[in-house]
């Protein structure tokens, strides 16, 4: 399937960012959303362009590292699912997808789609979760 992406690119915390458009022609519906970004980054790297920075770790829905704000919703269209467990079959051929970082004053953007979550870590460390 063909996918048009509008991705938030921001060099670092102190630089203004903007949405940049990319087109991917060969997306498989079985890819996870993050694998689709791997494909994008592969092609950017080969062209010598800076790949998109985004958080991820386990890629099996366990760790909570993956974030992304997709079409105005945290983790995209599904409810109760992480971004790494979102697959391209949830989208249609020719769709335009807007991908932004999670925007909140407490979580400044480090680069592109990666934000500084240490404020949240501090809440957990002080026992502020699940109590």
């Amino acid at each position: 399937m063909k996918i048009n992406l509008k991705v938030w690119r921001q060099k670092n915390t102190n630089t203004a960012g903007k949405l940049v458009e990319y087109q991917l022609d060969n997306v498989s519906e079985d890819m996870s959303f993050l694998e689709m970004f791997d494909v994008l980054n592969d092609s950017l790297t080969r062209k010598g362009e800076d790949p998109v920075t985004f958080d991820h770790d386990c890629r099996e829905g366990i760790c909570g590292m993956c974030s992304m704000y997709i079409n105005g919703r945290a983790h995209g269209p599904q409810t109760g699912a992480t971004t790494c467990q979102l697959h391209m079959r949830s989208f249609n051929d020719g769709d335009t997808i807007v991908v932004e970082p999670w925007r909140a004053r407490a979580f400044p953007v480090i680069k592109d789609l990666m934000v500084d979550r240490s404020a949240f870590d501090r809440i957990i460390q002080s026992g502020g979760m699940y109590r």
Partner: protein, 292 residues
Amino acid sequence: MSKTGLAVYLDFADAIKRDGRKTIEAKYGNLFEMYEKITGENPYELPMMIYPAVHYTMGGLWVDYNLMTTIPGLYALGEANFSDHGANRLGASALMQGLADGYFVIPYTIGDYLATIGPADKIPVDSPAFKEAEQKVHAQVEQLLAIKGTRPVDELHKELGHIMWEYCGMSRTAEGLKLAKQKIQALKKEFWTNVKVLGDSEEMNQALEQASRVADFIELGELMVDDALNREESCGGHFREEHQTPDGEALRDDANFAYVAAWEYQGEGKPEVLNKEVLEFENVKLTQRSYK
């Protein structure tokens, strides 16, 4: 045949007919949901595609009973160490180790260590050991950025994964492992001469981070292959096809292999040295495990 061409099928149809969908749902509901998310197929109606995946290292850093590594003051907890699981940490069994180490061991042992060094004995950052380590990291970072090859890190990472998946999974043969060793050595050469890492070291640079990890994974992958070649028996997650019973079960060789293989690093490019830590069983007898 599935699209990947790799899967065999696990069909729950008979179990659902026998026990009812409710029972299966209660037992496996969350797994079925995960499966459907990943594949887009409903496992209550279609057989599931399965595959015996690579099961990681089945080991980790050597630690003593207090969980300290061979570097004084450096502790390794949970799955990062080798200590509790032996040849099999399948399923979520390694969670036990994370919990046991974190709750029951480290709170006592780390305090003991800290008490021996005292608050004033901080390691100064101008100590020769610190300087040497820092310098090494800098040199490696500069080296990775200077290669300016043609192949993205992720592609080489995946290539390593495929080698391990193919030849060093649950089921291995001497022939396959020898081939894997050659392939990993060739990949290592390719990596250090043709990897493409953009950007610099003064900014957030995920490709650079990944490259540093992949450099480690190449070393670790080769060590796993060496270890699997050395162990001429089948045991836990290590099934050497040459060593099986007539009906296809794992065949251990306790007379020669009832030991933990602790491989000792000898420096860049030198083969690791095998230290055998003999396993002694005082209260249980070693027996054949049957999955039937």
